[in-house]
Symmetry: C2
Subunit: 133 residues, 2 copies
């Protein structure tokens, strides 16, 4: 039997990303947006993905005039966080810290990016400091 992981598939995610970017999301518009990104898919294919996304609870649709308009039900942050978590589970048995470390080690960053990391870390440290409930 197929996969077991996070239900959101790659192609579905691709479509969901487009939804996050746009406002009025009819099937046609989503398709056009995908085409603009170089992703050539048929109208009905997009429809299929949107339907599947709806069944899985990731989007919601309202009939606006002629066509349905789709909009995300889950925020980009939420979905992304969940994906990251899934990868952490898969690669590091759920330990996210090692993942962050590995990521920082295996990639290259500019000074600005590194500064951003530092700032966030300082903030985390301060925020979490009094947190011991």
């Amino acid at each position: 039997m197929g996969r077991r992981g996070s239900d959101l598939t790659d192609a579905e995610l691709e479509v969901l990303k487009v939804l996050w970017e746009g406002q009025s999301n009819t099937v046609r518009e989503v398709m056009e947006r995908l085409h603009a990104k170089g992703r050539k898919v048929a109208y009905t294919t997009v429809l299929t993905f949107l339907s599947r996304l709806e069944q899985k609870g990731y989007v919601r649709s309202d009939k606006a005039g002629l066509a349905y308009v789709y909009r995300p039900k889950q925020s980009r942050e939420r979905v992304i966080a969940s994906r990251l978590r899934a990868l952490a589970d898969q690669l590091f048995d759920g330990a996210t810290a090692p993942m962050v470390l590995q990521l920082m080690k295996s990639e290259r960053f500019t000074h600005e990016e590194i500064e951003a990391f530092r700032r966030l870390i300082d903030e985390l440290d301060r925020t979490g400091a009094e947190d011991g409930a």
Copy 2:
């Protein structure tokens, strides 16, 4: 047609992880190790995955006495880095820094972990400082 992403599938990765952990990896041993982890798979299933992994270039096998012994051809770090990169491509259009930030924001860490981040960042900063080739 099926998926397009990184060729290593989830189940294959599961097997590869076991290979990274052990030394003498016969099909049977890998299977037992998987069982110990709660992953109940048939002997032939493990064999299938190992064969597919070999075809894809992730493992290599040598006949040792009766059975073949499999060993990883790619390091854990390498594969993990590539996976992380793939996720960055998928979620952040290849920008790894935003991924690190998001990851740090959406998860919780202990002070020790945060300290480890800070140390690594300092090091990165120092290492990369003279790097402007």
